[in-house]
């Protein structure tokens, strides 16, 4: 058993990764979280569901991960007073997720220390909860302005800089409130939720196939990771195993998504330190990857190419040759560019020491994904829980301990080379013919399934609950940005304001993925 606790009875899920589910009493929530935390485990996701239609109340769901696998726990809550013990004292990362669960569903943490709204601004009334099944969109509509009590920093010479939601660059909207003295940042507070567009509610009215498309659009830059996680969750509920050739192609798509995003980020990191040469060069390379995607698979970002039960695109022998050539070209070019970045005194001066997150703080706050690995946190779902075909690939994890912008640049370079190596291996092992998908039309009634995929930014999780007829009753997508946004607030402390764009870019977090 992954956790030993007397109040816990777990069922092994038939998922592609080691995963368990179980129901616990509210009183057991904190002790179990504490056991997981003491054992070096983390909280991945927290969400709620309305089960009043089934004669029950509400439920809180949490996904924990430790060295054994993913543990999904459900806590039944009463319909009248849907409260649960606060877990944010054990896992600080739970804070915003708990607040979001209140905004959307009206379930709340006892003794939670932050009761401010999170995803709700002024689009619906505070006493109405969109994810409740009896939510009335017309009745709850309001246009009240968003009054959000930011924490104020006081002192001689302290002033605030308010940025956003519309930013200066081509990026997603969000608000940043800086408290500064001179150029130095004393505090950063994020206000997100601007691109909340009701994704979770939308899922509930969708067929399995429509929902697959929506899953691929939770965060466009991670469309492959989301589509795979969703398919994995649905396949877990349906008890379907995708064919061999399909999982190899899925891994190929996922590594290509990582390659494209890392190339783009490395270009922008150069741009942000006035090395526009870097942007020009890396984006030429990225464009070539995207064009190969379009020519070989029919979409530049591979949207909708992972479907339930398999994949919707194939690769012929000629395509393999194109990709082998692409690998060789990228390895050659990126090596030259890496040399230039490393020897560029101006760039390194800005990279080194900026936006530092000490490994100890990173572990405490639950930093994950590539940013976590740049702060010594050796977690990578492809390594820890290698689902097919990663079990045959032996992924080499890239870690670094400095936790600064330079470390996140280094990890990106290393992961880029590793993904190119993996792409070569996948191409070599990708056998000809074999089916691309197996039918998956319907899910089991009262089912629960989960999928977790290491996207380029970090682990993407998808959870699916079905009703008695096997329809989607609750789908929860979880972006690694939930974990990493709060850490950015710490990373910038003591840095100067002009370094914020660089530090922010070095994390490159998703707004859409966390605003839902």
């Amino acid at each position: 058993m992954p956790i030993n606790h007397p109040g816990l009875h777990l069922n092994k899920l038939g998922a592609a990764i080691p995963a368990w589910s179980g129901e616990i009493r509210p009183a057991d929530l904190q002790p179990i979280c504490q056991i997981v935390q003491d054992g070096g485990g983390r909280l991945v996701a927290l969400w709620g569901s309305d089960e009043r239609g089934e004669g029950k109340g509400f439920a809180l769901h949490i996904a924990l991960v430790n060295e054994a696998g993913l543990i999904c726990l459900s806590v039944p809550l009463s319909a009248g007073q849907p409260a649960y013990p606060d877990v944010s004292r054990i896992f600080p990362v739970a804070d915003r997720m708990q607040r979001a669960a209140y905004d959307l569903l009206g379930i709340y943490a006892h003794e939670g220390h932050d009761h401010r709204k999170w995803l709700r601004h002024g689009a619906w009334h505070g006493g109405n909860f969109p994810l409740r099944k009896d939510f009335d969109a017309a009745l709850s509509r309001t246009d009240e302005p968003d009054a959000y009590p930011f924490v104020q920093v006081e002192g001689i010479g302290v002033h605030e800089i308010a940025v956003g939601p519309v930013h200066a660059g081509i990026i997603e909207p969000g608000h940043f409130r800086f408290s500064v003295v001179g150029e130095k940042m004393l505090r950063l507070e994020e206000r997100l939720g601007y691109v909340h567009k009701g994704i979770e509610k939308r899922f509930e009215s969708m067929s399995l196939q429509q929902a697959a498309k929506l899953a691929g659009r939770v965060s466009g830059d991670s469309t492959v990771a989301y589509a795979w996680a969703y398919a994995m969750a649905a396949e877990c509920v349906a008890g379907v195993t995708p064919p061999d050739r399909a999982v190899w192609l899925r891994a190929l798509f996922l590594e290509r998504e990582r390659i494209a995003n890392h190339l783009g980020d490395l270009g922008y990191l150069g741009n942000d330190v006035a090395l526009s040469f870097g942007f020009a060069q890396f984006w030429i390379l990225k464009e070539q990857v995207l064009r190969n995607n379009a020519a070989l698979f029919g979409h530049r970002y591979l949207m909708d190419k992972i479907i339930l039960g398999g994949v919707a695109a194939d690769l012929a022998e000629t395509g393999k040759r194109t990709l082998f050539e692409e690998c060789a070209m990228l390895e050659r070019e990126v090596r030259v560019l890496r040399g230039i970045y490393e020897e560029h005194a101006g760039a390194q001066d800005r990279f080194i020491g900026a936006g530092r997150v000490e490994p100890k703080l990173a572990a405490r706050l639950g930093l994950c994904g590539l940013a976590g690995r740049a702060s010594s946190l050796a977690w990578d779902a492809r390594v820890q829980f290698p689902c097919a075909p990663y079990d045959k690939l032996d992924v080499q994890m890239a870690t670094y301990r400095n936790g600064d912008v330079a470390a996140r640049v280094i990890v990106r370079f290393e992961e880029l080379f590793e993904s190119l190596r993996l792409q070569r291996e996948i191409l070599a092992k990708l056998m000809h013919d074999g089916t691309l998908s197996v039918p998956l039309e319907k899910l089991a009634g009262h089912g629960f399934g989960v999928g977790m995929v290491e996207g380029w930014r970090g682990e993407v999780l998808m959870a699916i609950h079905t009703d008695a007829h096997g329809n989607l009753t609750r789908v929860h997508p979880h972006d690694p940005s939930w974990q990493n946004w709060p850490v950015l607030e710490h990373a910038v402390l003591g840095n100067i304001v002009p370094d914020f764009p660089l530090i922010n870019k070095s994390f490159n977090l998703s707004y859409s993925g966390q605003d839902l």
Binding site: G122, F135, P165, I170, Y194, K197, G220, V336, E343
Partner: protein, 170 residues
């Protein structure tokens, strides 16, 4: 420095020919006079506003700045403030939480101004549609001149949309 210069020379010029305007993208009859368009046509400033997108369209808007498409080479560039802009490039279904910000950005953009809606969601609400949290298409919130569909639209289509908006209607 030697490596850097060598790499620049080795890379050469990647920029491709710009696409032609496409009349099919035009939503409204031209609101502007030809004279002004001639001015815009040689130096256009764009303010991008993500009003609720999944960030897929942003990836392609970044791409129009890469060496292959080289939008800046046509005298068209992205600026940091709507007050400096001639055109708004708007993506996403407009989330209710971005409705006010989008309207204010539109109001802050000096007349005469153009609005190009980028992507399926901006054109018709896309997969997110209209809901308690989404106003749907961009034209539900501010006037739109040209709409570019696609999920996400290719960089060529985005450029075509921009060029259509600044080309006089024949």
């Amino acid at each position: 420095m030697y490596q850097l210069i060598k790499q620049i020379i080795k890379t050469g010029i990647k920029t491709e020919a710009a696409p032609q305007p496409d009349e099919a993208m035009r939503v409204e009859t031209q609101r502007l006079q030809e004279e002004i368009l001639r001015v815009f046509g040689s130096a256009l400033n764009i303010r991008h506003v993500d009003a609720g997108s999944c960030n897929g369209c942003e990836l392609e808007i970044h791409s129009v700045n890469n060496a292959y498409y080289n939008l800046e080479g046509l005298g068209i560039k992205f600026v940091a403030s709507p007050r400096h802009a001639d055109m708004l490039l708007v993506t996403g279904p407009v989330s209710r939480h971005m409705e006010v910000a989008l309207k204010r950005t539109y109001d802050a953009t000096p007349e005469p101004k153009l609005v190009v809606a980028i992507g399926e969601c901006a054109c018709d609400g896309g997969i997110f549609g209209e809901s308690y949290a989404s106003c749907g298409r961009v034209s539900n919130v501010i006037p739109v001149d040209v709409a570019v569909s696609g999920c996400p639209p290719t960089p060529t289509a985005i450029m075509q949309g921009i060029l259509t908006a600044i080309s006089a209607k024949k």
